[in-house]
Amino acid sequence: MILHELLSYEILRVIWWVLLGVLLIGLAATDGFDMGVAALNPFVAKSDAERRVVINTIGPVWEGNQVWLILGGGAIFAAWPPLYAVSFSGFYLAMFLVLAALILRPVGFKYRNKKESPVWRTRWDWALVVGGAVPALIFGVAVGNVLQGVPFTLDETLLPIYPGNPLSKLLGLLNPFALFVGVVSLAMHIAHGATWLVLKTEGAVQARARRIGSWAGVLTIVTFALAGVWLAFGIPAYQFVTEPDPFGPSNPLLSEVVRGGSWLDAYQTRPWIAIAPALAVLGLGSAVVLMRLWSGWAVTASMVGIFGVISTVGLSMFPFILPSSLNPSASLTVWDSSSSQMTLFIMLVSTVIFLPIILAYTSWVYKVLWGKVRPEDIARNPNAY
């Protein structure tokens, strides 16, 4: 098959780097508000009727939204196998915590209303808080660690090695900068969840969501900016000593990397990327303002903000994807940790065909479900959560 050589290996790698970003943004923009809503629930809804309203705003859509995560896992496996191997085994216990939280979440939605007992329901409410807040926090912590580099190396057969015992590895991830990025992520998800509740609810729940959400939005902007300052002065970046060949084989050990410089140097060499942090602040800021105006457009603004935040990280680090602090030369970059050209091409064709279809039926579902969720709708639908 010669077809897959229609696009050069270099271009395919860049496209898949962009698509990696698209998947992460898709996850944060859709599943992100599910997480935010689940984490906010007991704080914005006091009575059982109110809590059911909150849960049912995401009831029909969380399953679809969660697929962004599963698809993200699959796409990283297919397009960036070394990244999949290193990060999933390296962040082992953190991944387990995310999984445990994510397993609790769907069953919480589905099983909460199966019994009348208030103890049963309150217990699931808190399980849902964990299921929403823990992944949101850990995703941020992961990004914080990626920016600093992660202590892994590759042996000569390219086996990923991540030394340490379970506890030291987990605690190593929970360093101050990473936790700070975790706060950015948690605040961002909570603000995003709040914009969704402003759109989908009324009355007291909406008012509480608006109050908490606008504070969370402001907190996101402030911590995002402070993280940038911290990055500029406290966190060294990674640089190539010998550049890898963008058309070369995917073997990270073929290039040499050292620690040095700052991720913010990218803004001098590629000034146009400043648009990403600008969008982040603009989007999040508008979300706060729109929420204060009781507007449902806050969701869209918040999505723009999320787009900006995630793009900022990706563009600042390009072409690095997962630097290694233990052996910088083992760092994974766009040029040396992808799948083969043929696999990237086939995956691209599948994406080009199916992503528009996914977006079409997903939008149709949101359109069908358009409008506020009210207690009387829930009473009428025996399938409601």
């Binding site: 098959m1 009831g59 029909p60 859509v61 969380w62 399953e63 679809g64 969660q66 995560l69 599963i70 698809l71 896992g73 699959g74 796409a75 496996f77 297919a78 397009a79 196998p81 999949y84 191997a85 999933f88 085994s89 082992y92 216990l93 387990f96 445990a100 397993i103 609790l104 769907p106 069953v107 589905k110 199966k114 000569e156 390219l158 086996l159 990923p160 090695i161 991540y162 340490g164 015992n165 379970p166 590895k169 995917s250 073997n251 073929l254 799948s339 083969s340 043929m342 696999t343 599948s350 199916f354 992503l355 996914i358 039926y361 997903t362 579902v365 069908v368 479900l369 025996p382 399938n383």
Partner: protein
């Protein structure tokens, strides 16, 4: 067996996969049954069919959630616990998993919400299409997963790249139309349909025994037994097809299932019963049925089927060839690819056996220094534990034929005897509810345990596929998964039983009014 990192990782994968597969088969079959019932409702407008749709839909929903939740673990744990596997074959294996998400899983998961929440927001017809979307999504999902799994059993369309130290895709069509994957797909989804049929028949039989929801139960049995009859025939035929395919690529698995140590003269007999003895390398007290194995495996009376000992001898040859490839690979790696064409040619000539040299490294550190005894030891490692395979396979087959008989009887009585089921048959049907799960779990056990010592047959030994983790990493998560999953399973079963005990809660008055109106008319017809 010593319990190290490899064994713990295997145990974790096996338990999470087997948990996951408690929910998958019911999803596969029930999604189609529910969509069928809804279609009948849309076509006839009879409220009983809507009630059936919603009732079975509720049970479907409880089950679906756990299928989704446990599925996330499956997608993540290749990277978590099998990092070298992920690196080594991700270029091929990752693609079907990702396409599954794009093409199938997104569809079923997005539509399932609107199915439950959309009864009042959609027209009856649109709602029915949503049901079919969920069913098609679930089944396509199985297709891609089994393409991935089929590749582990029969790794086609890929070659080893010495520069990246991994297998890389060269022929996507071969992976897609892998005969093993196709046979496995039909076998597995059919098994799912049988599971759902037995489930629906069992629950309905319980209602009939109790004299409850007669209209719902009879119709459900009629639909489920027709669907299940076709499916159980398909399971058996495609199971046989899998056996035939295994003759070509996984002869060791087949010989182990059969407990066949020596090569028999064609056509080989089938061991109905026996006690396989791994140490003595023989199957004691074998009760043989002549010809059967030869016919299943080769579909001929003259083709010979190799026994375990002959296959071990072949493995020895491949190990020796693999060592040559290994040696050439070391030279290529040391020179970063800058070697003479002779070395490259040597490598290419023997690279298909590289996995066998990797298997040898589990016996001796440097394969080039291996003694004949060590090579023989490694060759014997290609033999999986025979007894567990031998028995699981027979349990699976027995369960399959039992279900065929039960479903066949229900179908016959439902269609030609006016649905007058004897009480004892209804009791059997209730107690038969766990049988399809036993068949499904033993079936997966045969498929995956029988693939040992490889994760990818002949390419990558299991012992080398694991992540570089500490034992405690895996112990902690294994305990965590087992606890979490067990709690959820208990809750799920309780909720299922509660929903079954409660019976249909939808359209009660409408259905009663409809039934009252047609009863006097319907009676003489019976």
């Amino acid at each position: 067996m010593e319990f190290g990192l490899v064994e713990l990782s295997r145990l974790q994968f096996a338990s999470t996969a087997m948990y996951h597969f408690l929910f998958v088969p019911l999803t596969l079959g029930l999604s189609i049954l529910v969509a069928t019932m809804e279609t009948v409702y849309v076509m006839t407008g009879r409220p009983i069919w809507r009630q059936m749709t919603k009732f079975w839909g509720t049970l479907f929903g409880i089950n679906f959630v756990l299928g989704v939740s446990t599925g996330i673990t499956m997608e993540f744990q290749f990277g978590m616990n099998w990092a070298y596997y992920s690196h080594y074959v991700g270029d091929i294996f990752g693609a079907p998993l990702a396409i599954e998400g794009l093409m199938a899983f997104f569809l079923e998961a997005t539509l399932v919400g609107i199915w439950f929440f959309g009864w009042e927001k959609l027209t009856a017809r649109a709602h029915m299409f949503v049901a079919w979307g969920v069913a098609i999504g679930s089944n396509f999902s199985a297709l891609w997963i089994l393409i991935a799994n089929g590749w582990m059993q029969n790794p086609v369309g890929a070659v080893f790249n010495p520069m990246t130290m991994r297998m890389e895709l060269v022929d996507f069509y071969a992976v897609l139309f892998n005969p093993v994957a196709q046979a496995k797909f039909v076998h597995t989804v059919s098994a799912g349909y049988v599971t759902a049929s037995i489930f629906v028949i069992g629950v309905s039989s319980w209602y009939l025994l109790r004299g409850r929801h007669i209209d719902l139960a009879r119709r459900s049995i009629a639909v489920a037994s027709a669907f299940g009859l076709a499916a159980s025939l398909s399971v058996i035929v495609l199971g046989d097809e899998s056996g035939y395919e295994a003759t070509h690529n996984q002869r060791m698995k087949l010989a182990a299932i059969e407990g066949m140590w020596e090569t028999e003269e064609a056509p080989a007999s089938f061991n109905l019963f026996g006690i396989p003895d791994q140490e003595a390398r023989e199957t004691k007290y074998a009760i043989k049925i002549p010809y059967v194995m030869g016919l299943i495996g080769t579909r001929s009376l003259t083709t010979e089927m190799p026994g375990i000992k002959e296959l071990v001898a072949q493995a020895e040859t491949r190990i020796r060839s693999g060592v040559i490839a290994y040696d050439a690979l070391l030279q290529i790696r040391a020179a970063k690819g800058d070697v003479t064409p002779e070395v490259k040619e040597t490598f290419e000539a023997h690279s298909a056996d590289l996995g066998y040299a990797m298997l040898l490294t589990t016996v001796v550190e440097d394969p080039k220094l291996a003694t004949d005894a060590q090579i023989s030891e490694a060759a014997w490692k290609t033999v999986p534990q025979v007894a567990p395979l031998f028995w699981s396979f027979r349990i699976m087959v027995a369960a399959g034929f039992f279900m065929l008989a039960l479903i066949g009887y229900m179908f016959f009585t439902s269609n030609f005897r006016g649905g007058r089921f004897p009480t004892w048959v209804l009791r059997v049907a209730v107690f038969a509810i766990p049988v399809p799960w036993i068949a499904a779990e033993t079936g997966w056990f045969v498929a995956e345990f029988g693939r040992q010592p490889w994760t990818v047959d002949g390419l990558l030994p299991t012992a080398l596929s694991v992540s570089n983790l500490s034992i405690w990493d895996v112990v902690l998560t294994l305990a965590g998964f087992v606890t979490l999953y067990t709690v959820l399973l208990v809750i799920e079963i309780k909720l299922m039983l509660a929903a079954i005990r409660k019976g249909p809660t939808h359209d009660i008055e409408v259905v009663e009014a409809w039934a009252a109106k047609r009863r006097p008319v319907a009676k003489p017809a019976e």
